[in-house]
Structures are given as structure tokens and as C-alpha cells.
């Protein structure tokens, strides 16, 4: 017997709903990314405390690159977790879920560290806050919204990790974990676009 009810489309309703949500989230991030790019183009100078500050002085490309690799690795462990769930290998799925949670936590930790440095400033870059420049506003809103998505994904994954120890955890939850995986991969592909368009673009 199938763990999910048959539907007219042949696609489980939960999965269809998640893909519809992800399609709509594309539009959401599309507007945030374009807002940032437009303001960068229209106002190329970032003026803080009366001085024009090169954005490359503010950014720490080494840290952001490391975060990108971490998020990519979390996508691999998530894909392996879903694969293990399909094979009903719960122990392996649980371990891969834990790996995804660890990588995701590292990414969030790096983002908090990065934001903290930006806000407090360094020897070569003054403080960048949400309100002192247009660049700060669009940058924090875009990357912060992505960070909130990652955080929600982490909470969702952690819930599955602990629930997988429960006796109530059964075959009907294979699809649910797969849907969580779709959300997690989406968070990854959004970063795949944010990293070059917001960070690397400033260096070329």
C-alpha cells in the first residue's frame, strides 16, 4: 500500500503545494535581488560618515566563499538524507539530517559573524547598518531574508531529526522529509544566485 493518498495529478498534494510555494518564492527573491542591483547601479557610491567606501573593503569574500561551500555541502547531505529515506534506511537518513543541520548552523553562524563585523565596522571599513546607507538597507534585507529562510529550514530539519526517534515516525513521513529537502535545496539555489550577484559582482 502506498504511504500517500492517490491524487488526480499523480503527484502528492503536499509535494505539489511545496513546488507552487517555491515558484512563488522565486518571485519574492527576484524582486529583492533586483531591488539591490538597481540601487547599486543607480547609486554606485556607498557613502558612510561622509566618505565614499569601497564595498570590497566591507565584504570578507573568503568567509562568504567558505559559507557558500558549506551550504553546497548541506545540499548534498540533504539529498542523501532523502535518498536514505526512500530506501527506508532510517539510521542513515537521521545521520545525514544531522549533517545538514550542522552545515546549516555553520552557515547561519558565519552570517551572524559577518553581520556583526559589518555593523561594528573594521579598521578599513566603517559601520554598515540597515539604515545608514541604501546599500546597507537592500543588502541586509536580501541576505537577512535568505538567512531567515535558512533558519526556518533548520528548525524544520531539527524537528524531523528528533521526530525520527519517535514510534509515530513511519512510511507516511518519507514524503514529508522529501518536501523539507525541496525547501532546503531552494534555500541553496537562492544563495547560488545571491553569492555572485551581491558579493562577487563587487570585485569585477
Amino acid at each position: 500500500m502506498s504511504a500517500t493518498a492517490p491524487t488526480n495529478t499523480g503527484i502528492p498534494n503536499k509535494k505539489l503545494a511545496m513546488w507552487a510555494f517555491l515558484a512563488s518564492d522565486c518571485m519574492f527573491f527576484g524582486t529583492l535581488i533586483s531591488t539591490h542591483l538597481i540601487y547599486r547601479r543607480v547609486n554606485p557610491d556607498v557613502v558612510i560618515d561622509g566618505s565614499v567606501v569601497p564595498v570590497t573593503n566591507i565584504f570578507d569574500i573568503e568567509l562568504t566563499s567558505a559559507s557558500t561551500f558549506i551550504l553546497l555541502m548541506s545540499s548534498l547531505t540533504m539529498a542523501l538524507a532523502v535518498s536514505a529515506m526512500h530506501k527506508h534506511n532510517i539510521k542513515a537518513a537521521r545521520n545525514f539530517l544531522l549533517g545538514t543541520i550542522l552545515f546549516g548552523s555553520l552557515f547561519i553562524g558565519a552570517q551572524v559573524y559577518e553581520f556583526n563585523h559589518f555593523v561594528h565596522g573594521t579598521d578599513i571599513a566603517p559601520s554598515l547598518t540597515l539604515t545608514n546607507t541604501i546599500f546597507g538597507s537592500t543588502f541586509y534585507v536580501l541576505t537577512g531574508t535568505h538567512g531567515v529562510h535558512v533558519l526556518l529550514g533548520l528548525i524544520w530539519l531539527t524537528t524531523w531529526y528528533f521526530f525520527s526517534f519517535s514510534k509515530k515516525f513511519g512510511e507516511e513521513h518519507v514524503m514529508d522529509v522529501e518536501i523539507t529537502g525541496l525547501y532546503w535545496h531552494f534555500v541553496d539555489i537562492v544563495w547560488v544566485l545571491i553569492f555572485p550577484l551581491v558579493y562577487i559582482l563587487e570585485y569585477i
Binding site: A23, S34, V42, L72, S83, G181, Y203
Partner: protein
């Protein structure tokens, strides 16, 4: 003994499912290796002495390849119903149209904000 056979609520997976997932296992590793190489290439673009239009085009192409690899393999679109691909592409088309429209509505240099004659801070070495 595998937990597959002892976890309550789970029956052993079918042979077809096990075979299919075993093949995907290696595909996932190939995909992640490709993604890592493409990310390195993106970073290398920073130091290449080409015109910025060439570099920008390269950056966008690399990002799109990474994007497609993740949705096609990690998000299982390759193996799922075509309807899901169509649904996601519909969202992507609307999002891309929105981005393109906004970028065209606000061309570069149209309303450069006055920086009040602020002096520029020199970019630090090595960044």
C-alpha cells in the same frame, strides 16, 4: 542488522527503489563536485583581466549552470513528473520577467545620488 528491518512503521524498500537510489548516490557526488568546481571558477573570475561584460556574462552562466544542476538532480526534477518542472519554470519565468522589467525601468546612472562631495576611501590592498 540494518535498522530498515527493525524500525516500526517501515517495510523493506522495494528492489527497484533500492537500485534507483544506489545509482543516484553516485550522481549526487558527481553533482556536488561539479558545483564546487563551478564555485571555484566564479572566484577565479575576480582576478581574470577580461572586460567586465565578459566576466559578468561568465558569472551569470556559471550561476545558471549551478542553479539547474541543483533543481535537476538534488530536487529530483529529473526523475519527477514533468508537471512539477513546468510549475517551477512558470514561477521562474515570472520572476525573471519581473527582474528584467525592473532593471530596464531603472537604467544605470539615471538618478545618481549626490554624495555631497564626499572623498573616496581607497580600496585596501588584496581585496
Amino acid at each position: 542488522m540494518s535498522e530498515t528491518t527493525v524500525k516500526s512503521g517501515f517495510s523493506p524498500a522495494s528492489k527497484e527503489m533500492l537500485d534507483g537510489e544506489s545509482k543516484r548516490y553516485f550522481t549526487f557526488f558527481n553533482v556536488i563536485l561539479t558545483l564546487i568546481v563551478l564555485t571555484f571558477l566564479e572566484l577565479i573570475l575576480i582576478v581574470l583581466p577580461f572586460h567586465h561584460i565578459v566576466l559578468l556574462t561568465g558569472l551569470i552562466v556559471l550561476s545558471l549552470i549551478k542553479f539547474v544542476l541543483v533543481i535537476w538532480y538534488f530536487m529530483h526534477l529529473k526523475w519527477d513528473q514533468i508537471f512539477l518542472t513546468a510549475l517551477f519554470i512558470l514561477g521562474l519565468v515570472i520572476a525573471t520577467g519581473t527582474v528584467a522589467a525592473l532593471l530596464l525601468l531603472f537604467p544605470a546612472g539615471e538618478s545618481v545620488m549626490d554624495n555631497g562631495g564626499a572623498p573616496a576611501v581607497e580600496a585596501s590592498a588584496g581585496q
